[in-house]
């Protein structure tokens, strides 16, 4: 363990060394972002720039501090690392600047699909993609002669077989914790059934639909094969169950695929049996029941042009193509950076993209819908009310919030 950390630290230092040669900045840079390994790498390499101070604040609470931290003038943070869900809050508050001129000046080596273009202007530079997809125990499935499921219906059948043969009591894992996680699983399922969150072209909610009811019914059926504590298990807790060998099938984030069996305490069986596959479809649909995500960085609006330029240069250093030569960095994510060769762990995310998975909606009012779903679906999952009632509650809660924010 110590040896591995030492090597990692060594590798980081080597990067820092090589980065320092190329990256020279002349104004302050301050980065706020999430804290998973790929973002740590980007942050560390941006911080390797010399000539001015580069501060990083990488925390799971990034999305509650990035907007306030960029609203001031001058802004505290010169760059926020965000995903397609969280860029919406920055766009809504108008705190990030278009990057077209900086891309033209310093953006050599960026690939076209890294440029997140909104209304013809580059607003963010993406560096990795993400999607939830299937992870499973190939040893257990092979023993029982089950094929890895391609649909959620097959997942239910597989779970029933595993349970009835007495291999596991609760073979399905799911990040169904009430709140953000539960809402996200509903989003997946709703899109998989061909539903949509809103009436086309408006902020009117549309989840209390046939697809919505079917999505909830499927989630309820899946939850019968989960630990009874499922409403309190987020993706960290669900992963812990998988790593401990308590779960054989789960829909999990691609960004966690590479580290799934490297954590301390993963049993030997899980290490040998771990496998991944593309996302599943549901209800005979052709579009997988998952959403596509990207992570990228932005540059604040309320800062001087010199600071914006320094920030752009430092962030470019954080995602420079040479990083893709390093095996430990390469496996951290499905990178969108030039020179990235997909690893085995990236298969699930690429499959999701190939199968036509829908990107998580980048709508100004989607955050309110997500919150309403997270709060109101718990009652249905506990069997306290009907699917129709739960979805009606979601729409009512969303309406109250959307009225307050001026969307309805």
């Amino acid at each position: 363990m110590f040896l591995r950390q030492a090597t990692l630290a060594g590798a980081m230092l080597a990067f820092a060394g090589s980065g320092a040669l190329a990256c020279e900045i002349s104004a302050r840079v301050s980065i706020v972002g999430n804290e998973f390994p790929a973002i740590q790498t980007v942050g560390a390499n941006a911080a390797a720039c010399t000539g001015a101070e580069v501060a990083t604040n990488l925390t799971a609470d990034h999305q509650s501090i990035n907007v306030p931290g960029m609203q001031g003038n001058p802004a505290e943070y010169t760059s926020a690392i965000i995903a397609n869900s969280s860029i919406v809050a920055l766009m809504n508050e108008d705190v990030i600047r278009p990057l077209d001129d900086l891309v033209a000046k310093h953006g050599q080596g960026l690939q076209q699909n890294q440029l997140i273009t909104i209304d013809g202007k580059v607003m963010a530079v993406a560096f990795m993609a993400n999607a939830q997809h299937l992870m499973y125990r190939k040893d257990i499935l092979a023993d029982l002669g089950i094929e890895p499921p391609k649909t959620y219906e097959e997942m239910l059948d597989a779970a029933e077989t595993i349970r009835s043969k007495g291999v596991m009591q609760n073979p399905i894992g799911g990040a169904y914790a009430a709140g953000w996680n539960l809402a996200q699983e509903f989003n997946n399922m709703l899109l998989g059934y061909g539903g949509s969150h809103f009436e086309p072209g408006s902020a009117e909610p549309n989840v209390n639909s046939e697809a919505g009811v079917k999505a909830l019914t499927m989630m309820k059926a899946l939850s019968e094969y989960m630990t009874p504590d499922f409403l309190t298990h987020d993706s960290n807790a669900t992963n812990a169950e998988y790593r401990a060998g308590n779960v054989a099938l789960l829909n999990m984030w691609g960004s966690r695929a590479a580290t799934q069996i490297t954590a301390d305490g993963v049993t030997e069986e899980v290490k040998q049996g771990h496998a991944i596959a593309g996302p599943m479809t549901v209800g005979g649909g052709s579009i997988p029941a998952t959403t596509l995500w990207w992570d990228g960085w932005t540059v604040a609006k309320n800062i001087s042009d010199a600071e914006a330029e320094a920030t752009f240069i430092a962030m470019m250093n954080g995602i420079r193509p040479e990083l893709m030569q390093d095996e430990s960095v390469r496996t951290q994510a499905v990178w969108l950076i030039e020179g990235y060769e997909p690893t085995e762990d990236s298969l699930g995310v690429f499959d999701a993209a190939k199968a036509g998975a829908i990107p998580y909606p980048m709508l100004p009012y989607m955050g309110l819908m997500h919150t309403a779903l997270g709060n109101e679906l718990g009652d249905f999952m506990q069997g306290k009310e009907s699917a129709e009632q739960a979805l009606a509650d979601v729409e009512a809660a969303y309406r109250a919030a959307a009225k307050e924010k001026g969307f309805l």
Binding site: N92, L231, P359, Q382
Partner: protein
């Protein structure tokens, strides 16, 4: 004390209270009656990786900026947010009242509205935890006070531990212990003989767990206060009672407790305030599907990807009003006692 001396004596405190208590309350009040402007939306083309370009809705910044500059406070909505579904839900309550036949049906529909569901839990939590904390704190204080001098230091330290542990950490430790695979969760399954029994899957059991946590965490607070009070016990009264043949229980009941009564009032005040704002265990236990509170609403409004400042402000004002209502009996009594003395 002369008025001038009193003025200079109280000035620093008064300034701090004005700056850090009165002004924020005014600011929260103002924010709760204003909401963001109507959003000006338009369709634009977005291009993202692995997908290509699609038409999406976004906010028109120029138009929004113009609106904001014209009216920087946002639009005035009065008490609209206070009575919307996320808060007092007047129209939903009225609808539930006319739609339901009996009180039972009405209560069911009421429990479906976030504010009333949260109130049901918060008030239960407050009125179960507060007396238990006072009783348990008193028992620990009496027990520690009766210990040999050499043991006291150690006993005090261990009794204080739950209070020293950061609330979130304490809640997280318990979260894993009561998981159906955790130490306590498995023990309960074994005791009940039901392998599917889960503390976290049942609303009732989750409430019990949260209340247990609340008592566990706050009892040391009451203990410290009461223990300090016990050091000032009038020994002559105790001795007089002993000579009169009072039993140990009678001494506690008729000498110790009356002596500690002002402290009981103090602990009750602080505990009612703290328990009404119950928050950390709900987050730590991931219990929001079973139990919510006004503080949790504020956290949820501000923690989402789209922050709802007006809604959070309205919840804050409702919290202040709630605490004021709960404290009023105790405050009125204290005021009467004060008037009697002067």
């Amino acid at each position: 004390m002369r008025h001038k001396t009193f003025f200079w004596f109280i000035l620093p405190t008064a300034t701090a209270m004005l700056l850090f208590i009165a002004l924020p309350i005014v600011s929260v009040l103002i924010q709760s009656v204003f909401a963001p402007h109507e959003a000006v939306l338009r369709e634009v083309e977005n291009c993202t990786p692995l997908v290509g370009c699609t038409t999406e809705t976004t906010i028109d910044h120029d138009a929004t900026r113009a609106l904001r500059e014209a009216q920087p406070m946002g639009r005035f909505v009065g008490f609209e947010i206070f009575i919307d579904r996320g808060h007092l839900a007047f129209s939903e309550v009225a609808e539930a009242w006319s739609a339901s036949d009996g009180l039972g049906g009405f209560a069911d529909q009421l429990a479906n509205l976030p504010f009333y569901r949260a109130m049901a839990f918060t008030l239960t939590f407050t009125f179960v935890v507060t007396p238990l904390v006072i009783a348990l704190g008193l028992v620990i204080a009496l027990a520690v006070n009766a210990l040999h001098v050499r043991l006291k230091g150690l006993a005090i330290f261990f009794s204080l531990l739950p209070f020293i542990i950061t609330p979130l950490i304490g809640a997280l430790v318990l979260f894993w212990m009561i998981d159906s695979r955790g130490v306590l969760g498995s023990a309960i399954q074994w005791l009940a003989g039901d392998p599917d029994l889960s503390l976290k899957a049942s609303t009732g059991l989750m409430w019990v767990a949260l209340i247990t946590y609340g008592v566990w965490h706050s009892a040391p607070f009451a203990f410290v206060i009461f223990y300090a009070g016990l050091q000032t016990l009038p020994m002559d009264q105790i001795e007089a009672a002993q000579i009169d043949g009072a039993t140990r229980w009678q001494r506690v009941r008729y000498v110790v407790i009356p002596h500690l009564m002002p402290l009981v009032t103090f602990v009750a005040l602080i505990q009612i305030m703290d328990n009404f704002r119950v928050f950390e265990p709900i987050v730590g236990f991931n219990a929001s599907a079973h139990a919510q509170s006004l503080s949790w609403f504020i956290y949820n409004d501000l923690g989402g990807e789209t922050r709802q400042l007006s809604s959070a402000s309205a919840s804050s004002v409702l919290t202040i009003i709630g605490v004021a209502i709960l404290l009023s009996p105790v405050l009125v009594r204290t005021w009467r006692d004060f008037k009697k003395k002067t």
